[in-house]
């Protein structure tokens, strides 16, 4: 690890692997896996090698993971075409291809990317052959299933014990007789024939036509058809399960609709994962009269459903549109297949387009579950667009995708439905009938079936929202559309600002009762989740209409089950998850203003909000109904939606609070300052900034200063709202300290005083001819300014100051500001070099670079991020969470503060495919995801602050980055003011630390998301903030009394020593408090100074009690004797040669000596290493 800084990013992985090997050999085998696993690249050497031999492998074709050539060291440089090749006359083919690329695709890169993706997801020919053979065998097996004698539907004794009927037979009693007859017809339908099924889940749908003689009259009533269908499938299952051909025979619900079980067949052996054949039983065409299933017709009798003996007199039966639709679906499978195959002929782009659309839907978790936007649905939509000539057969896959998204984005199917039916048959129901029965309407060619029957309006709005967002992304040239549209998954937790779970869906039974949803229950065959969900969602949407732009829900999903198990119940869908996407301006408002008291709507408002609604008089004199939510701090205000949801669900849906698990702000406890009531520090940050503004005004107007102050700029993280724990105004207790003149000093007898952070401010002085043009003289003049500023602030504003050579500390309002004077020409003067010819040149030196960073770039960054905070109020909190996490993982010294701020800023400035975060939690999750998934090796991270970069700038940065990769930092950040140098990551993090960060981030994200998505477990989110300590070599335990920031630790200590301060900002103060005194930091500095080449030191600066030490394996190898490398080593002989090795025993004792009074104990874990 020692020499790996030089390795550079591209080869970063390889040297560290070498280092690991050496480390292992150095340890003589005693040192084993943990440390290697931690700092070893996770598979990246392989990736690097593969990258190098990419082209050869392509030539080699199918050889995937075969032999590897010895890895060449060179980076893959873009190949240059020779001049002759570039300028040869183009062939007509080439011209058309170039033209096509320009017309049909955005760019040639996008075209190539899409082609690659399609190759990845489409089914290979060889597999197709295997699948075809498998289908043939199924075909012959199905014909050979014996008939059964006719029995009553309720008499299921003929079915063997090994098969349970895949249907919830509630109520059980039903009329009708059933016997099995082999299928009249078998037809492959759906995506497999069209060639649009995509990996990884290859499904082949077979429509098994049940012969006419199975059915009787009135089978359309009371689930008789459905039960026969289920019995039919279970008989097939019983026979097929005995065959050796199948690896598994299982049941599932079609799109989790429990009325429609299907039979899943998978081949034997290693092909089991390859394909799933799904058997759908469907009736003989023409069996049912279509008019019976119009959306307004009833086919489930109330008396039967309620198990009453006789129907109530005179009561009209309610319509059962969903029930009707579920039967109709089965009758039209074949005609849909014809429609789609007609559409797909002579239209190669359709196949590609559908594959892309399916990937798009999959990434957004929209394509599975009850009421999903399935692949079939999207195929029908494309067919519709083709019919309407919105798509023509000339189009490429990309254009199909675009046109479809465009249509989705602009059409609201929940308001204006569409129909594939061509000739309007006057007897058929019209769209309005459908709209009355269903929330979303898309009618099939027969004019009878609503393809979107199960979809809720909210789900469609989500699809529409996604489509809109994606159209914006595709039109934005700054974003890599391919990556964000098709390659980035959007799980709910990372998509929505707040997410909450309904822990026990069985509570929705109560909701159905409360909302009187008997008719819907009948229609849905007793599925209370499906019946209640649309009503619950629209209730929430109404309650949050001002605050949320989207209220979405997860799709209820039921997984497949073995045939000898009972079918899953409605409650087996597990917790139901809801996601909210906020309108940042209104989400946190405490007031819900209703209509005026004397208006008619007032009553409605009052019933909707219940007791919470009260009459209030407003400033304009009006008296209105209004709801006011209790919240004093920003973090409480962020949770107002939670209050609303809990209130509304309790009031209208009878769902108790204990059933709701709200995961909006679970993480915020780690950045909480002190007590609960103090909030998460936003208020503290604002008061710091106010005090700073006041100070800067005072500085501007300071009299008697020889030169005026031209600008005052803050550089401390608190002044851009990203300080993990913002300073709190304090006043020292005099008796706690020693004192010298008007200054307080830490006392040896007392615990370490509280850490008071100096808030650094750069104070630019006017340029003038009076400034000297010499380094040393400028330094002195600056020192004189510091003295004078202190003096003038004391005289004119009665502030206590402590001047020093490089700065002046000012104690104001309980904060300490550190003023540093800057002269704009000083960096230039530091850079001056005179060449031998007498020419004046400017060359960067370490000193000038440092000064520029401090006085030029950092103030600019701070003000930019301050601006970002004004646009996105949760930017600061997100960044603070991110920093807290990094520090908790002991890595805060290995990556710069500014770098983390920029990474978080990236999430807000370039949120695609998401929207900018509106809660710290979602921001933090996306931060972890960014860290874990961004390809640092091959891409620069461009943070377009203040939109200072155009797309051509970005392209240029990318190109230059590729050309110069090996010379650039491992983590490359480009901003408008810093396009080429990545100044905030130049020294830190190193390749190894970055690797570790990536690993930790992906683990933390996984653990955290698992916890947040599982409301039934006890959610201990702090887990990801507790670092694993087991792979460090030495642990230095510290004395908590001497840790000034002890109270900031993740698990707040129960008791901690008094720190000699009281919270106060108003009182005038005469004595200057102890500033910037943190013994642990001083100790770490000394340790690093002394043992930098032997070990790495890790510490959580926010109250950590342990310093973790990791030996550098390279420096533990015996080295030949050299004057320059003797530090901390001793001389010994090895194989008759004089070598030096680290004097470990003495070093361990040095740890204690250097930290006298601070170190409690040094725990050497010698079981992990030997000397």
């Amino acid at each position: 690890m020692g020499g790996a800084r030089a390795a550079g990013p591209m080869g970063g992985a390889v040297p560290s692997r070498a280092a690991n090997r050496e480390r292992r050999s150095a340890a003589g085998g005693a040192r084993t896996e943990p440390c290697c696993a931690v700092f070893s690249p996770q598979g990246s050497p392989e990736a690097a090698e593969e990258a190098e031999q990419g082209p050869e492998r392509r030539a080699g074709g199918a050889v995937r993971r075969g032999k590897r050539a010895a890895p060449a060291a060179a980076d893959p440089q873009p190949a240059k075409l020779s001049r002759a090749e570039l300028y040869k006359p183009p062939t007509s083919e080439e011209l058309t291809q170039l033209k096509e690329t320009e017309d049909l695709f955005h760019s040639s890169l996008l075209r190539l990317q899409i082609e690659e993706l399609l190759k990845e997801v489409t089914l290979k020919e060889t597999k197709k052959k295997k699948i075809d053979a498998f289908l043939h065998e199924i075909n012959s097996l199905l014909g050979a299933i014996p008939e059964t004698p006719e029995t009553e539907l309720t008499d299921q004794a003929w079915l063997s014990e090994d098969v349970k009927v895949p249907f919830l037979q509630v109520p059980f009693n039903v009329k009708g007789r059933f016997h099995f007859v082999p299928p009249a017809e078998l037809k492959v339908v759906g995506s497999y024939l069209l060639g649009t099924c995509i990996r990884p889940e290859i499904n082949v749908d077979i429509a098994v036509t049940m012969p006419r003689e199975i059915f009787q009259d009135k089978d359309n009533l009371n689930q008789r058809y459905h039960r026969k269908r289920a019995l039919y499938l279970s008989h097939i299952a019983q026979h097929l399960s005995k065959e050796k051909l199948f690896g598994s025979v299982k049941f599932a619900y079609m799109n989790s609709n429990h009325l429609k079980p299907i039979l899943l067949l998978r081949p034997q052996g290693k092909d089991e994962k390859m394909v799933t054949v799904r058997l759908h039983a469907c009736p003989d065409p023409g069996l049912f009269k279509p008019s019976r299933f119009y959306p307004s017709k009833n086919n489930v009798r109330t008396a039967w459903f309620m198990e009453q003996s006789s129907p109530k007199e005179g009561a009209t039966e309610p319509p059962t549109p969903h029930y009707n639709n579920s039967i109709l679906c089965d009758t039209v499978m074949l005609s849909h297949l014809h429609l789609l195959s007609n559409a797909a002929t002579d239209f190669p782009g359709m196949k590609d387009g559908l594959a892309l659309l399916k990937v798009w839907l999959n990434q957004r978790q929209l394509s599975k579950g009850l009421g999903c936007f399935s692949g079939f649905l999207v195929s029908m939509l494309v067919a519709y667009l083709l019919m309407k000539r919105k798509i023509v057969k000339m189009m490429s896959g990309y254009q199909v995708l675009r046109s479809t998204l465009q249509f989705l984005a602009t059409t609201d199917l929940s308001v204006t439905g569409i129909s594939l039916a061509k000739d309007a048959d006057p007897s058929l129901p019209v769209l309005d009938d459908f709209h009355q029965a269903f929330e979303v309407v898309f009618v099939d060619p027969s004019g009878l079936v609503n393809l979107c029957a199960d979809m809720t309006a909210s789900k469609y709005h989500q699809v529409q929202f996604e489509a809109k967002r994606c159209m914006e992304i595709l039109d934005d040239r700054m974003v890599d559309g391919f990556q964000v549209l098709l390659m980035t998954p959007k799980p709910m937790l990372r998509t929505f600002d707040h997410v909450f779970h309904l822990k026990h869906v069985s509570k929705l039974q109560g909701t159905c009762k409360k909302m009187q949803l008997l008719n819907e229950l009948m229609d849905r065959g007793g599925n209370y989740v499906a019946a209640a969900l649309p009503f619950v969602v629209s209730l929430l949407a109404r309650g949050l209409s001002q605050r949320a732009q989207l209220v979405a829900h997860s799709l209820p999903q039921i997984s497949e089950w073995p045939i000898d198990a009972e079918p899953p119940k409605h409650k087996d869908i597990g917790p139901l998850t809801f996601g909210l996407l906020f309108v940042p301006e209104f989400a946190a408002s405490t007031l819900e203003k209703g209509p005026q008291a004397d208006h008619l709507e007032a009553l409605e408002f009052r019933t909707f909000w219940g007791e919470k609604s009260e009459l209030r008089r407003f400033q304009d004199g009006s008296i209105c109904e209004a709801v006011v939510w209790e919240a004093s701090t920003v973090c409480q205000k962020r949770l107002i939606p939670e209050q609303i949801i809990r209130h509304l669900l309790k009031l209208h849906a009878d769902i108790p609070e204990s059933s709701i698990c709200y995961t909006g702000a679970l993480l915020e406890s780690v950045i909480r300052t002190g007590k609960e009531a103090w909030g998460t520090g936003e208020e503290a940050m604002v008061s710091v900034v106010c005090s700073y503004d006041d100070l800067s005004r005072k500085l501007w107007n300071l009299k008697e200063l020889p030169l005026t102050v031209t600008a005052v700029q803050g550089v401390h993280p608190a002044l851009r709202y990203t300080d993990v724990f913002p300073p709190i105004p304090v006043k020292p207790i005099y008796s706690f300290h020693n004192r010298r003149k008007h200054l307080l000093l830490p006392s040896e007898e007392k615990p370490c005083p509280a850490y008071i952070t100096p808030l650094k401010i750069i104070c630019h002085m006017e340029g003038s001819g009076q400034w000297p043009q010499d380094k040393g003289a400028i330094k002195r003049i600056k020192a004189a300014f510091h003295l004078q500023l202190a003096e003038l602030l004391r005289q004119q504003h009665q502030l206590v100051c402590r001047p020093a050579v490089t700065h002046t500390d000012v104690y104001k309002d309980g904060y300490v500001f550190r003023l540093q004077v800057a002269y704009h020409r000083e960096p230039l003067i530091l850079k001056e070099v005179v060449t031998p010819e007498g020419m004046l040149k400017y060359q960067d030196t370490e000193e000038s670079r440092q000064l520029e960073l401090e006085t030029l770039h950092l103030p600019y960054l701070t003000s930019s991020l301050h601006g970002l905070q004004q646009q996105h109020p949760v930017f600061g909190s997100t960044s603070r969470l991110a920093k807290r996490w990094i520090s908790a993982q002991l890595l805060s010294d290995s990556i710069s503060d500014e770098c983390v701020d920029l990474l978080v800023a990236f999430l807000f400035l370039h949120p695609a495919p998401f929207t900018p975060p509106s809660s710290p939690q979602v921001g933090f999750l996306r931060f972890l995801n960014l860290l874990a998934t961004f390809d640092w090796k091959n891409n620069p991270l461009i943070v377009n602050l203040n939109t200072g970069l155009t797309d051509s700038d970005c392209a240029e940065i990318k190109n230059k980055f590729v050309a110069a990769r090996s010379r650039l930092p491992v983590m490359f950040l480009a901003t408008p003011k810093d396009q080429w140098s990545s100044m905030w990551t130049r020294e830190r993090p190193s390749a190894q630390i970055l690797q570790r960060l990536v690993l930790l981030a992906s683990e933390s994200r996984r653990a955290l998301e698992e916890q947040l998505m599982d409301p039934l477990s006890d959610q201990d989110v702090k887990m990801v903030f507790r670092p694993p300590l087991d792979f460090y070599d030495v642990l230095i335990h510290l004395n908590p009394n001497q840790i000034p920031r002890h109270l900031e630790s993740v698990d707040r200590p129960v008791k901690s020593a008094s720190r000699g301060v009281v919270k106060n900002s108003s009182a005038m103060n005469i004595l200057f408090p102890v500033v910037d005194y943190d013994p642990v930091q001083l100790y770490l500095q000394e340790l690093r100074d002394a043992f930098d080449d032997l070990a790495l030191f890790f510490y959580d600066k926010h109250g950590g009690e342990v310093i973790a030490v990791l030996w550098k394996p390279l420096s533990f190898q015996p080295q030949p004797f050299k004057v320059s490398s003797m530090k901390g080593r001793k001389v010994t002989t090895l194989n008759n040669e004089l070598v030096c090795v680290p004097n470990v025993e003495a070093i361990l004792e040095d740890f204690e000596i250097l930290g006298e009074g601070l170190v409690k104990s040094v725990e050497a874990r010698t079981e992990k290493w030997t000397i």
């Binding site: 690659e116 010298r740 000093l745 003289a777 002195r780 004189a784 020093a804 530090k1127 010994t1132």
Partner: protein, 293 residues
């Protein structure tokens, strides 16, 4: 200088297993070879560090601060061992004239009289090297002979060395500057500086417009006709201006061949981009970037 040290260190003729003993044995064989002195912080500690000492040798007598024959070169001085402690440790071998601690071996710098308490302040960190100058050459051998004795103690009861909390508190106290003292120093420095600048300017004014012995006149920015400043930036600016001037004179898309050229150039650009994109895709495919899930 550095080389001179290395020659002596590179050929230690040593046998034996223990580092300390070996080094001590070597000391008796050659005056220039190293001796290892065990040194501990205080009695309490169990494991000593080893200070390596030898007579300071230079090829030529250039290093005036560290006179040969009576300067002891000390390697691997622990961070808590300052000049005072070193001088106390070696005072038993003879009178110590001065102790010079630095980061790495090198010629001693002349003590700069103008070095100030506030500026040019360099803190020493970590393990150091030191030059101990004795009054008499005999002390060198005596110092080397210390290796035969038990470990030396840096911090004793009579002369405790501060580390840890007490050291940090002391340095916090030391970091407080006295404004008056600082102001006085700055004023003195600036007076000197102003005087120097005034002298230079007077000299320049005197030379202004006066030809030197070969007849050349120096042009400065002060004169009646200031010349271009001789900086890199100024040179670049001139070149840029020239280029713009030339570009203005040129006609674009005027001749038929120019039209042809642009078209050809366009296709070539497209091809080049296509080729680059193909490369990028190949790279991404190799990294399996096209698996959506």
């Amino acid at each position: 200088m550095q080389g001179g040290e290395d020659v002596a260190w590179a050929t230690p003729r040593v046998r034996g297993s223990s580092g300390n003993g070996a080094a001590a044995a070597a000391a008796s064989q050659s005056r220039a070879s190293l001796a290892a002195l065990a040194v501990k912080f205080a009695k309490r500690q169990r494991s000593p560090h080893c200070l390596l000492v030898k007579e300071h040798q230079v090829r030529e007598g250039t290093d005036t601060a560290h006179p040969p024959r009576r300067t002891l070169f000390v390697l691997n001085v622990p961070p808590y061992c300052g000049p005072d402690s070193l001088s106390r440790l070696f005072s038993r071998c003879g009178n110590v004239q001065s102790v010079d601690i630095c980061d790495k071996p090198g010629p001693g710098e002349k003590k700069d009289k103008t070095a100030s308490k506030f500026f040019d302040h360099k803190a020493l960190k970590g393990f150091q090297v030191a030059y101990v100058v004795f009054r008499k050459p005999a002390a060198i051998q005596a110092a080397k002979a210390l290796s035969q004795q038990g470990p030396l103690l840096i911090s004793t009861e009579s002369h405790p060395v501060k580390t840890g909390i007490s050291k940090w508190i002391a340095s916090y106290e030391a970091s407080i500057v006295d404004p008056k003292e600082l102001k006085a120093e700055v004023d003195a420095y600036m007076q000197d500086y102003d005087k120097k600048v005034a002298e230079e300017e007077a000299k320049a004014a005197k030379e202004e417009g006066v030809p030197d012995e070969e007849g050349w006149v120096k042009v400065t920015r002060k004169g009646r006709k200031p010349g271009l400043p001789r900086t890199e930036a100024a040179n670049l600016r001139v070149l840029e201006k020239e280029k713009q001037k030339r570009a203005r004179k040129e006609l674009l898309n005027f001749y038929a061949w120019q039209h042809r050229e642009t078209k050809r150039e366009h296709i070539a650009q497209l091809r080049k981009k296509f080729e680059e994109d193909k490369q990028r895709i190949a790279l991404m495919r190799a990294q399996r970037k096209f698996r959506p899930y």
